[in-house]
Amino acid sequence: MSVKTLPLVFINLGGEMLYILDQRLRATSTSEDNSEKGVWSENDRKRVMNDIVGTLFSKTFMDELLKPQQLYSHRTLKTVLTRLAHASIMRLNPASMDRLYELTIMAFKYQVFRCPRPKDLLLISYSHIDTIRELVKDTSVVVNQVDETHRKIIEVYSSLSEGEFQLLRQTLLIFFQDMHVRVSLFLKNQIQNPDGRFALPTSGPVPHGIVVPGLIRVFDSKGREVRRSEFPAGGSYSSPVREGSFELHGDRVISLGMNMYTVNHPEETHTSKGDGTPNPLAKEELNLLACLIGSLKAENMPRAEYGFRINLFTTDQEEEEEADGTSDGAEESMFGVINIQAMQDEQSAAELARITGQFAEEEEQHENPSGNKGDDLLAMMDDL
């Protein structure tokens, strides 16, 4: 359907991913200096943020996304987001990447679902950009990149009609269809029901440009109003609030797209049960990620190079488990012994290319005439 989804998809999903990673990295840092091994310092956190934001908002990456094209499949999207997450020293294993992906998708699904007007997708995107700018505010080079991209997005999207935005939104809703992962933060805030469906209240302000329902007006052939009557609208709607700003800076007004994860309440994303039986919901949730990132065992690694293995290749994992003597399930694997950087490893890069080639062949759900959707993007990311 819409050929203009990708830039907004990456800004919003990337933004949600950064909110979560930032919150986790702040929560696990217990010292400002680098005296403790296995702990993420303030500098480490900033470095990770700068690296990921710098990649996401690089001109080449954004230009690639801005080309008119169909939305990627979940598989391709997850691969690219994984590469993005690994743009820095931090590494996530597949299980934690899966959880992170589910979380970011559910957050974005909620925002798209509850978006008051289709055009407000832009306000949600700009909200994400605003917070991202805050995250990297100390590094002016990256801030400039963010600003440049933001200007480009304003230029490209400001002229779209409401109908085009609705088509974009419908494309995204089809992409998110049938995903009902329960997120405990959403359940707690009652924006999600226990069955995984999002709440849709019939109350509150109507979107900007819409009139509160309840009035019928009848006109004569000269256009003069001859009668008006009211009907019960069955909800408790109120007048719209002011419109958010579509400029580079400004009050976006709507709260969708703002950072829900606050450092002050890390318990929302902390494991509440330690090593005990996990809360079934925790599987779907950030707690797992908190465990995995926060508890690095990196005894033998050089200080600046700690990170997780990338468990992309099963053969390596088997070897590793044998050597290590521990063979827990994927949830518990917290190796930090060898840092495999797929971007620098020729053999791994070849593997990745082969795997990516497989994705293109298996693409059934979306149209992709050239068969290499996402490949160009991945190849280009290698050069960054």
Partner: protein, 366 residues
């Protein structure tokens, strides 16, 4: 959640420039209750007018179709509620195994001689026998002259007169297909190029025997409406300009165009002259579906605000006036509704689909 309203309303005395009127608005006591839902194989996608219904009286069956991404879910439901059978259709080119594309809309087209099922997608237009058993025609969309920055798709389906099926395209063009009374020799008869924005919906009345001045109306993403008279060469009778807001669903009844918009409003126009008869602030979000029960004048509206509303339209040709009365509300909790259709010409029953819902919800009058 069910809300039923039947009451007398005395409206406020608004100081009107030409008349001072206080009007009793008697709401008729038509009430609906919820029936057993029909489960479908996949959930409904968030697309305009995402439900089509075909009533087959001789066989005491009703067919329902709902779009899920690149698949059409078809259910055949017996009137006694005992038998349901399901079928799925994929949108793809004939003889090309792996190509599928997202479907924009599916609709039954009832012609005097035959009933057909039309499926519109990003790639083209498929026409099936009404039970979905055989594809009788495929028309590929011409993507060569579309600017690459725009999405290409077909959307907007209506049967008109004796033998035409009209389908809209994202360029704004309307393809008119000439349909023989049987067989697959369907041909493209004409291309109507009036709209400049993607077609959203097309509707007709007076198929078959009746004579009408206008028998077709088309709507686009800019809210523009075109009124046509069908024939070997279709005639444009009127163009009603929009107000930069998408008209997502449109109906034609007794010479009145009923149009639903992204603003949640419904406008009623006289088709041939474009005179605005009535404006209803009907919903708090984008309207996704309208339907009219032609024998009773009942109007159904459904929107992303999770509400379905039933109205009653009265057209008085002598005084050239139109009345709109609100009758009933239904709320489908936490659901953005994408399809709503009456199941019969009197409006005795209606069915509803919602985004991410894997059921067709049904309501019948008490």
């Amino acid at each position: 959640m069910v809300m039923i309203f039947s009451s007398l309303r005395l409206t406020a005395d608004h100081p009107l420039p030409f008349q001072q009127t206080a009007v009793f608005e008697r709401e008729l006591c038509k009430m609906y209750h919820k029936e057993k839902s029909i489960q479908i194989k996949n959930s409904a996608s968030a697309l305009y007018n995402n439900l089509s219904v075909l009533r087959i009286a001789p066989r005491r069956l009703t067919y329902f179709t709902v779009v899920h991404a690149n698949v059409v879910n078809m259910v055949s439901a017996s009137w006694d509620g005992l038998n349901y059978s399901h079928r799925q259709l994929q949108s793809k080119e004939p003889n090309v195994a792996t190509s599928t594309s997202l479907i924009m809309q599916v609709a039954f087209c009832v012609l005097p001689s035959r009933d057909l099922l039309v499926v519109t997608s990003q790639k083209g237009i498929q026409i099936y026998e009404s039970d979905g058993s055989i594809m009788v025609y495929w028309h590929a969309l011409d993507t060569s002259d579309a600017p690459t920055a725009q999405a290409v798709f077909a959307r907007g389906i209506s049967a008109v007169w004796d033998n035409y099926i009209c389908v809209g395209v994202s360029s704004g063009a309307i393809l008119v297909f000439d349909v023989p009374s049987k067989g697959s020799n369907i041909t493209l008869s004409e291309v109507l190029e009036e709209h400049k924005e993607p077609i959203t919906d097309i509707a007709s009345e007076c198929s078959g025997s009746q004579e009408c001045i206008a028998d077709l109306v088309s709507a686009d993403d800019g809210g523009n409406l075109c009124v046509w008279k069908s024939g070997k060469e279709f005639q444009l009778l009127n163009k009603i300009p929009g107000f930069d807001m998408s008209c997502s669903s449109v109906k034609l009844w007794k010479g009145i165009v009923v149009a639903g918009y992204g603003t949640g409003q419904i406008h009623l126009f006289e088709a041939v002259t474009g005179i605005l008869h009535a404006e209803v602030n009907a919903h708090a979000r984008w309207i996704y579906s309208l339907d009219i029960a032609p024998f009773s004048g009942l109007l159904l509206s459904a929107a992303e605000d999770s509400l379905v509303r039933v109205w009653h339209l009265t057209v008085t040709p002598e005084t050239n006036s139109v009345e709109v009365a609100h009758l009933h509300n239904e709320c489908v909790t936490d659901t953005q509704i994408c399809g709503a259709k009456f199941c019969d010409g009197d409006g005795y029953a209606f069915a509803v689909t919602g985004y991410d819902l894997s059921e067709i919800i049904r309501y019948t009058q008490l």
